[in-house]
Symmetry: C2
């Protein structure tokens, strides 16, 4: 390849660049090319490719390669021809912007320089040409500051300080109040600052300015902020590699009152409403809007202020959606009555807006159903399922700002990003409170639950970034004065010190002191439509983990197709049942034990009946008792303490007044009712204390007898079922009787029994025997034969390896990936997450926490083995997952790929799982 | 197939049966056929096949099928022709024995009837023919008793009672003192007993006797004893199915002083010496020898007593070994100067004898090396490696019996088999003490560590069975009087009550009260030869698990080809080191911690050097620290108690005398030397107590901080190595420096580093970095680069699944099947073996304890996956096993089959593993 063709590849005019090739031209560059080519009014310009960037970064050098410079300069000549201006010309000077742009959208990560080409001569030309000295010096001082900061590395604060000094001297608060002379003086100070800081005068040659700027943009790709962002969001080189540079003719929104600059969304990014949305500032440059220095006007206002231009804007909006089939977030500038479109990209919206626009755009024919589904990340639905403030909480807001990113949250107010990161990593809920945020604050966003700023609008940095992350944000709460040095914020008389708890509501813009109660979110009609489409596409059924009829109703409301896991031990844990369970455990003989079991039977039967009735027509999977029985007993230390306390009492007690804490201790005991009455009178005799001590000692003895070294791998699940059959038999009988009662009521119920912790088919055979005998017994007494499916949890490694054998007994498998992950890694979750997983993540020994993200390469391989084995023995075997992973989109995709029939997750995640199941199917290829 | 041909298949004369077809003819029957066909003097007879037995058992009926009876009776006619006698004939009556015999040797399990064909008429004929009335009645009373018991179900005791009554009346102790009249009277009593018990007269028709006997033998196959035995020894139908019946002409060893009966071993079954060994009784029937009722004479005595017959016996011995290529255990009878061989089978010998005879028979050309190796069960070598009594223990024997099965052991004396079984299952060491044992006692043998009898010889039931099981046995200790009713044994003045601990030495025949100290066994020269052959055959190398130079020397002596596992934590546990480890753990800062580590470094380096030197030329695999560090700390409860005690002391202490227990408590603390001096004076001031309390509280705090819910799955192994790198780095440095020191001394050392608990290759990369840096550091200061292999334990399931990736970092794998089994089953060994594994075994949910017998279907499948994966990445990957299973023959065979390179086991099991490795290769087929 010749040098020239190689160079040719590196620079593209907007008219010639391939609008689809984001990898080569960056997102922004490709976009500018595409916009130009579809006939939008884009200021002329060209793109320096990412390839040129990588080429530059890969070679040791002091500057840009000669060939690249030649190509850039040649394109500048073309620009001069197109605009009729000349770069560095004193009369009609060409000014350009230099912007970065990589293949992935990385908002605020890369640096931008505006007004490049200005020096004393061209400035004079600008002023002569426009007759506006104030505009000229304002533009110049902006350029010196940006160029100084980005290309020459001069600290921003030094410029701010000079500007503030001048404003102070003039007694001025607003930038707009500065006149031409003020700004000229400021320019002089800025040039001096550059001379002082760099030891050299500010470069006056426009080409030198251009070359240094391109180099600075390239270098910024490897800057700390950019590298951090890529790491945080896992942007790998195959996704984006290097940044392109976009050189674009400057147009000016600050050339008087017929000029303006603004940003727009083709639909409302907070609600999805099909209505042009955005903000603009008259006589300003774009950075003024984004940085939130002046508070802009909503675009609706423009209909009155500049009706013709507003009509042009509406046309632009229609063109953008028709071309991109996606909501667009665009920037525009009006220079002396001419509308330019500077940039457009897919709009970042909250999920409510995404869902609404998906459903509406599908109806408008702008997108297909598949597109409508795929443009919404399943996990993002969590935002809609977030809690909102309880309107009945009656909290009085402390301040009001803009509702910049919806959702409500509480946390400790922290006033800078570093400390927010520190506190967030320490596990504290944090709300980052800033006057305004900057790209440098990004690590503080990651660590915070929500963002509160006192300046800036709904398209300010804080608002855009928070929405992208799905975190609540209140922006521009102007009543709040933030003082970082004192580490406090004041609202009138009220002072928020760092660490005080506040609540923000990004849906309303309200800020509260302390914690405010929240309510569950409701499902919007649009979400219901969308999830209906999702169900039509998905192959995986979505079931819910639910332990009570209430849980089941909620799951049903959220679209669950059955209950994939009912943890019966949760029924035992309720406060009215635990005493009976305790009695069963410490029973001295079979009779006592059976009495307790008989009482539990009635309770479980009614629980099961409630579940079956609620889910009539759908499967209800009942998992037999899983945890080791010592989990139902109090802790050893607590018992020892209580016994000591009671013994002390015993030594001194005789019909006397007793301490209320001790009274509680005795009430906790199920003593008989006459004793209870005695306790209520707060007097007590030694005999009752003696009884209580005896009972506690019996429990303590049992606690010690049942102690296990590794309870996770201990006497639990089916092992209990085989060694103490009476518990499982009670549960099976309760289910069989509940089923028969439902059948008698004419209900179509689908109970299933699932055995936990199975490692060999002999265990299943053993329990299956109980099931068959119990069903036969119940049939004998009721005349109705309960039809109950029989299956097994797959949560022991050996079960996966021996799946072929297990499937000869089991009609379904359900992967318990929580326990399976523990066994596969030999990680006890409680110990791992406290002791070494954080270090493993930090040192990159493990990228993810395998308890959150399913380990497809390890655990997943065992699952595949199990599926192969199971279906080899029983081709129509039903297979699902009921571990926590069953609600996570990436894991759901994996479950789809390996051929599961269903996933079961907690009720609130059911909608996410339904959409994820559709995605898994639709992205099959 | 016609009825006659079907029947023909079921009955075979000794001349026609296939001597190799044990499944059809049973071991004994095939053997009789074979003996007959190779020209030994076997009394004429025939075999009823196992097929006939199964056919009988499978059909509902009241007796034997007609066709079978016809075939049997036809063969009887043939016998009459051969012997010139007639069945039921009053003049020359034919008498036969009826014996069971299945394909597997099940000694004493099945029933036998002798002298069948006797009734009043034939008895008269016998007496007339022999002129010996005493012999006649003696034979008759034996027949009535055996037939009564076996075919008619009359309790044995009833006959014994009658016989004792007569003996009492006559004032006679020995059976031999009974004269013809006495015996005649006994016969009459016996016949009456049968009439009383069965309600019918004793059957006098010889054919009726024959038919009932065959039926009884068939039925005994499904008797409780036989079924129990088959279950215990896992004898499945493909190994033995049904019993054959052998009908053989009677010959009589009790026809006077030119008659005898005896049993012989072609070599000494206790030592293997190439010398005819056995016992005989003149004028007796075979059962007298086996039952141990009369004490027989050694065969050597026969050389003087019956020199010609002894010469015939020597010829028989030579013929047997030449034909069978195996030591034979044979029964013979001499009837009036003619030697008959009644039975021969492979001799059950102890292992020492097996090993010696293997080596000698190979030299004599009787067996090949392969045969010599394969005839010894590897596990049986444990007998030779058993401890023996310490000759310096100075214990005085209480009694002396016959050394019937070698080895020494201690246990609680228990006087019946049922109770022995009960106590043994409860985990108590038991020695079964009986007057003599019977087949009914078999369950007591299984449960006991050793057997002691007061009657019977070295071929008595007790001796034969104990030798077969490899359990120590002292037989015929006549000084002991056993009283089952009182549950005690007396030896002169001494009384052993049930439950008292005794020690027996089956090698010397001595019996001791209490526990006597034991010494390790030594390896015989023959075993050395045999194991040398084994090493030549085996493909698997056998290494040892050894933690100290002493262990290593022992392993080397037993033939280990290196150290496959050195558990470095054991080095930390020694009492002089634990305080330093404690210091390291509770160190408040890096400096303190490093000081402790520096001291440990010196110790570990010297440990490692010792190991490397001992094993020069062979690999030494050092496993980095594995257990969680809290294992090095005292228990929480103990600390709380100690602190309370010290605090009590503190409240009252001031230069006063202190309790010696508290003194100990303070000495346990590493206080400085002046304090220590003060402690030694037994006076103490409050300040020192304060110091000790402070230190204990620091440890308690650490204990609590390090507490884990499931330590087995917790912060251990490589997880510690990554979170606290300094410990691993210290160990690696110690090994690198030790290696360099050895190299400087000119030694050829092969150190290997093995990382425990690995689940991902990133962990290995992390530790490999330490290794590379440390080796480089040590090279920098010494100029020598340590060559250390780097590998990983395979004990986490995920490691097996991700073996391909691990093998990119690891040069070797070592399966830790203890932990891998725990993770595969989700069984915590400590909890499982205490809480539910016994029930699982009992209810047959799991046949074996997977911690003892490698679970080839579950754990084994993961191992296969790992081997495939590992070798796919690194074809020359070295793979071994260092879990407990590495020393067990069945698991070693599996390891051979799946392609491991080595097994590593505890030193005492190295010889077993070497032989097992050879077996695995030789039985490849």
């Amino acid at each position: 390849m010749s040098d020239s063709s190689k160079t040719k590849q590196q620079v593209f005019a907007f008219e010639e660049g391939d609008g689809k090739n984001k990898k080569l031209l960056g997102g922004k560059g490709a976009n500018l090319c595409e916009m130009t080519q579809i006939g939008l009014n884009v200021p002329p310009g060209f793109v320096i490719s990412t390839e040129a960037c990588l080429n530059y970064l890969a070679t040791p050098h002091n500057g840009l390669p000669r060939e690249l410079l030649d190509a850039i300069h040649a394109e500048m000549k073309v620009l001069e021809t197109k605009t009729g201006k000349r770069f560095g010309d004193a009369k009609k000077p060409l000014l350009v912007s230099v912007r970065s742009g990589s293949a992935m959208s990385m908002p605020g990560m890369m640096d931008t320089i505006l007004n490049l080409g200005l020096n004393e001569q061209t400035l004079a030309g600008e002023i002569a040409q426009t007759g506006d000295a104030r505009f000229g010096y304002d533009t110049y001082r902006r350029f010196i500051q940006l160029f100084g900061k980005i290309a020459l590395g001069v600290p921003d604060e030094l410029f701010d300080k000079e500007m503030n000094l001048v404003k102070q001297n003039r007694g001025i608060k607003e930038d707009l109040a500065l006149n031409a002379d003020d700004l000229k003086e400021i320019c002089a100070h800025f040039l001096r600052v550059v001379q002082e800081q760099t030891g050299k005068p500010f470069p006056t040659d426009p080409y030198e300015q251009l070359d240094l700027s391109v180099k600075a943009v390239f270098d910024s790709w490897m800057g700390k902020r950019a590298v951090d962002y890529r790491r945080e969001f896992r942007i790998t080189p195959d996704m984006a590699n290097g940044t392109a540079v976009n050189i674009c003719t400057m147009v000016f929104g600050n050339r008087g009152n017929d000029s303006a600059t603004g940003v727009g969304f083709t639909r409302n990014p907070a609600t999805g409403e099909n209505h042009l949305y955005g903000e603009y500032l008259v006589n300003a440059q774009g950075e003024d809007v984004v940085a939130g220095i002046r508070t802009p006007k909503p675009l609706d206002y423009m209909a009155k202020e500049m009706p013709d231009l507003f009509r042009q804007l509406q046309e632009l909006r229609a063109k953008l959606e028709a071309h991109y089939h996606e909501v667009q977030d665009f920037e525009f500038t009006i220079e002396r009555g001419t509308l330019y479109c500077l940039q457009t990209r897919n709009g970042k919206m909250n999920t409510t807006a995404m869902v609404r626009s998906s459903v509406e755009m599908e109806k408008e024919g702008l997108v297909t159903r598949k597109q409508a589904l795929l443009r919404i990340a399943p996990e993002s639905l969590a935002q809609m399922l977030f809690p909102r403030l309880d309107p009945n909480a009656g909290a009085t807001p402390l301040a009001k700002g803009l509702p910049a990113s919806p959702g409500a949250t509480s946390g400790h107010a922290i006033f800078d990003a570093d400390r927010a990161e520190e506190q967030g990593k320490a596990g504290k809920p944090v709300i980052l409170v800033r006057e305004e945020t900057k790209p440098e604050d990004i690590h503080g966003f990651f660590a915070s639950r929500g963002i509160l700023t006192s300046r800036g609008g709904k398209t300010s940095h804080a608002a855009v970034v928070a929405r992208g992350m799905g975190k609540p944000c209140v922006a521009g709460a102007e009543g709040i004065e933030v003082n970082v040095t004192l580490r406090q914020a004041t609202i009138g008389e009220t002072v928020i010190n760092e660490g005080d708890i506040i609540t923000i509501d990004g849906t309303t813009g309200m800020v509260y002191l302390g914690v405010v109660a929240t309510l569950e979110a409701e499902i919007t009609p649009e979400l219901n439509v969308l999830l209906g489409w999702a169900d039509q596409e998905a192959r995986l059924a979505v079931m819910a983990n639910a332990d009570t009829p209430d849980d089941a109703r909620r799951a049903l409301h959220l679209g669950a197709k059955g209950i994939g896991l009912c943890r019966t031990e949760r029924m035992f844990n309720a406060s009215d049942r635990l005493p009976i369970v305790l009695e069963m455990i410490i029973a001295e003989d079979r009779v006592q034990r059976q009495q307790a079991l008989d009482r539990l039977l009635l309770i479980q039967r009614s629980d099961f009946k409630g579940l079956l009735k609620t889910m009539a027509g759908l499967p209800v999977t009942i998992r037999l008792l899983d945890p080791p029985i010592h989990e139902f007993l109090p802790a050893e230390q607590q018992l020892i303490r209580e016994i000591a306390e009671l013994q002390h009492l015993y030594k001194t007690a005789s019909g006397m007044q007793i301490l209320s804490s001790t009274l509680e201790l005795l009430q906790g005991e199920e003593l008989n009712s006459s004793n209870a009455a005695q306790i209520r009178t707060s007097t007590i005799d030694a005999h009752i204390v003696e009884l209580a001590i005896g009972k506690k000692q019996a429990i303590l003895k049992k606690v010690r007898a049942l102690h296990e070294v590794n309870p996770m791998l201990g006497h639990r699940g089916v092992r209990l079922g085989i060694t103490f059959p009476e518990i499982y038999i009670m549960q099976i009988r309760a289910l069989a009787e509940a089923t028969v009662e439902c059948v008698k009521e004419g209900l179509d119920v689908h109970p299933e029994i699932m055995v936990p912790q199975v490692c060999t088919s002999a265990e299943l055979r053993y329990v299956k025997n109980y099931v068959e005998q119990t069903i036969a017994d119940v049939e004998k007494s009721t005349g109705i034969r309960a039809k109950i499916k029989f299956g097994t949890m797959m949560e022991v490694v050996r079960a996966c390896v021996r799946a072929d054998s297990l499937a000869t007994e089991a009609e379904f498998f359900s992967f318990g990936t929580n326990d399976l992950t523990q066994a596969t890694f030999s990680f006890s979750r409680e110990d791992a997450e406290n002791k070494f997983l954080p270090a493993y993540n930090e040192k990159d020994v493990l990228h993810d926490n395998p308890f959150e993200v399913l380990d497809t390469q390890g655990v997943g391989r065992l699952m595949k083995l199990a599926i192969e084995g199971g279906r080899a023995s029983r081709p129509n075997l039903k297979i699902g997952i009921c571990g926590e992973h069953g609600g996570h989109p990436a894991s759901i995709r994996f479950c789809h790929q390996i051929g599961l029939n269903y996933v079961s997750c907690s009720a609130p995640r059911v909608p996410i799982a339904r959409l994820a199941a559709a995605h898994a199917k639709l992205s099959e290829g």
